[in-house]
């Protein structure tokens, strides 16, 4: 990486583990592992990545598009980059060299500047090997707790991405036998909406994590014939309920959910 990232990099991750340690102690140590997904792994998923990481959730993020596409000088001339091979920083520097005024004005440089301190570069969902240990990502924000590389909840930012993710999981054939909740939140692809939705994602993560914690705090024998009372219900069962309640709080962000498998 380069100087810009190098200088900003250590700051944020250094902050996160300290907080994480504190929060972990308060909350009994369990944090849901999350994953945010949008089309280009730039705006919406990265806003979510940042906000969830700041809230001390282990988090990774991906894009489902075939290429990273950023607006260019005209609608027909977008800036196109490859996933997994281009760093946020190199994109930043390229656009800055091209037309600093334009890309400052449309917020791209601002966004890329934020992204390059979160992680190295945009990653593509379809190329991601689920369960590959992510031990080389210590510098990424939200990397703590994500070492095993398997999230509990995937949050997509657009119906199209949700479809792509669920469909991709079907193609993979669920070799890991591990359930995953895939939740879509429809977010319009602009900075303002992404910002609002970032808060909504944290709210959702907190609600879900609370349910998961309650499940974990129930110590003792399983009564097989129980299952009735909501307080006894497991995390998995409570996800749709929690999402429904969340939806009431965030009516402008229509949500979809399914339980799939890695």
């Amino acid at each position: 990486m380069d100087t810009t990232n190098g200088s900003a990099g250590p700051l944020a991750p250094a902050l996160a583990p300290a907080q994480d340690g504190q929060r972990e102690n308060e909350s009994g140590g369990f944090r849901l592992k999350l994953c945010t997904v949008c089309a280009s792994n730039q705006n919406r998923s990265m806003e979510g990545h940042l906000r969830l990481a700041q809230a001390n959730y282990p988090v990774i993020s991906f894009g489902t598009g075939s290429l990273v596409r950023l607006p260019g000088p005209t609608v027909t001339q977008p800036n196109v980059y490859k996933f997994n091979e281009t760093s946020y920083d190199s994109i930043y520097r390229e656009l800055e060299a091209k037309d600093p005024r334009l890309y400052q004005a449309n917020g791209l440089l601002n966004m890329l500047g934020r992204n390059r301190v979160i992680k190295w570069g945009p990653e593509r969902w379809q190329d991601w090997q689920v369960g590959m240990p992510r031990v080389k990502h210590e510098k990424d924000q939200g990397s703590v707790g994500m070492e095993a590389g398997v999230p509990d909840v995937v949050i997509t930012c657009e119906e199209r991405c949700w479809d792509a993710v669920v469909d991709d999981l079907l193609s993979r054939g669920s070799p890991l036998n591990r359930p995953v909740h895939v939740i879509n939140i429809d977010i319009k692809d602009n900075h303002r909406d992404a910002l609002i939705a970032g808060g909504a994602m944290v709210d959702l993560a907190d609600s879900l994590n609370k349910a998961a914690l309650e499940e974990r705090s129930k110590v003792g024998a399983v009564t097989f014939d129980a299952g009735g009372a909501a307080s006894r219900a497991s995390f998995d069962e409570r996800v749709p309920e929690v999402l429904g309640e969340w939806q009431e709080r965030w009516p402008d962000l229509p949500a979809t959910w399914t339980l799939s498998w890695f």
Binding site: Y81, G131, V222, F224
Partner: protein
Amino acid sequence: MAADTTATSASASNISVAEQLEQLSAARKLVLENSTYYDRIVKGVLPIIGPTAPLELRRWGAEFLAESLATPVLAMRDKENITVAVLDTLRALLDGAGEDAIVLKASVAAAASAYPVALRWIIHNSYHTESWEQMTAIKARILRIWDGAPAPVMLSCIKFAQRVVLAQTASNGMEQKYHGLDISLNLIPANHPLLDPRQLEAEATGLLDRMLGVLQDNSSDALLVDATLNCLSILSRTRPNTTYRILNAVLNFNPLKLANSPMTPKTRVFVKSLEKTTRVFLTHFLRRDPNNALSRRIQQYLEKLMRSRAEIFDDAGRKRALADQAAAGHGDAKRQKVEAAGVAHISIPPLGQGPHTLAGVFTLTNSLGLQAFDATQLPANLAAKISVRTLAGLDQQVLDFAIAGIRDRLTSLHAARAAAAAAAQPMVYNAATAPLGVEEEDDDYEPDLTPAEDTEQILNKLDNAPPEEPMEPTADSGVAMALGPFKLPPPPTLDPDAAAKLSQAAASRVFGPLSVLKEGSALRKPKAGINRLAASSYDRDSWLTLITRLATRSTASLDLDNSSSNGSIKPEDADTALDRSRGMSLGDTIREMLYTYILEDWRRRIEIAVAWLCEEWYNDQLTKRSGSGGQLHYEKWALRLVDGCLSYITAQDKVLTRFLAEIPELSRALLGKLKALCADPTTVQLALTSLLYLVMMRPPVREIALDTVAEIWTEYEDARPLAAKYLVKWRPGFIESQTRPPGDEAMSANNMAVTT
């Protein structure tokens, strides 16, 4: 080293659980970093996480086992080693009475990963019966706790069952060759000492049915249904024996059943989830195997699902659609922000020195970005849409101002005479994308190319394509662009000959349909008498009626004698001076053709001739009544028709009799034509019988007919006997009067003839 620490810590019971967990986490971090430690660490932790360990350790242990057995970093051989080693602990964890749900969930998940690996191990190491016994016991235990287990455990049980079915059904080899997904019934030899393929397959069939039960019961528990649907896909795709049963169960499943119940936030999430998960499952299948026998059913099901969903989520959809519409109308919100302001107040700077492109002259914006925009890149229809929308919403004052500004520019340019074509630099170099060379990217970049990606791929390719031909800037503005008034070339002058030819051609076309039209059914139908409509159906009869009327009543000569026309029916006087100068009138042309048409097969078309002559007669009467002195046609064409027929007539053609009986008017001249028949002995009888018929049945023409008979008697010796017979009856005394005056000689001759 960490492994050693773990091992020692396990044995030391005086360490607290929290400390132990910390050590275990460190060990886990170690294996994640270096997979070669897996074998040692997994085996090392087994004693610590057993069924007698504290709950936290059991939870951690079960989850660690599940994670380790599923990890993609280990090769199959390493995995086999670990799997065989953990079966004992796994079984113990599962067997623990009243075990914690999280421990059970993770243990069953671990067992799901272990199952295919253990099966493969046994296939190749049949001596190792102990492992298989362990695995079988685990399977039995899991299948027993499946029903009635808490939801998370049940989820894992579903997945376990799915792995058993996957491993114990014949594969079509379409699955990915990793993570044991490719372990199937195909691998088991028929003579394996431990494994009986048929028995295993039967078990798989039973388990699949049990899995599908949740669909067959039309369960509304989205959690279980989603979990089932999302793991059935690989079965339906790669295990042909399961495909039909799975799809059948899915197609009989109604994901929208819950929609009828009151919509709480949770049920809303449920309904949407069930619907979408079912849809993704089916579209996924359809895309992978579009030629499946069930494809049509799937498509119908999906269409129905879409419709029902539209009804249920109508309100939500509408809200979203409006937002989308707005976005479509005003472009992408994300990209619109640049230079959005500054349109309201336009300032039109005068052009500086130097050559300008035509585009430059018309460019009003100050934004460099917009100036560089090459409008020719837009597709024409999009450009048209934008233009129309802009013009519709444009303030008149702004437009006037802009036009005035451009005009000023042009006049100033004109004055300066800074002519010479300016070669504008076409924007070919797309700086944004060129350096990356993304064009070289090809399909193999996509490990899994799905149609959903295709549109995007195409878009990307389009993005990278060089812009289409830049507009060639024209130096002299305006002049070349203006459109002069366009006039059609005048038609060639029409001389009478050409006009006649053309009208003949037109007339001949009128006869075109006759060859293809069917014989009218009028003969079979009862006649409607006087009430019949002349041409109410499109058959040959109707068409002929049309032609005859066209011939007899055509309005070709109207302009000549407009005042004399009476009512809707125009008198026929086509043969005017004007028409004569051009040869034949349209009416006569048609008559001529009609005549030819009848004579082509006159025996069968005699009816048409009668109908035609009736029309002619009718028109003649009208012409006479109007007193316009128009041409009369009936006589002329009746004579021609008779002439035409007589040249071909034979003794058997009784049709002549009928013709003469039916045409509206008979004249002496017409009947005189019959005399010619008497020159031929064979047709004498026909001629005379026809005349006799007229005498008997048409009293008005009786005298003319008898006169004709008398003339025949006088002129044709051969016809005399028959003629005499009729004359004796109908004109008594005629023969006597004829024979007497010429004298005895003639009379005696006559008598001789009679006597002989």
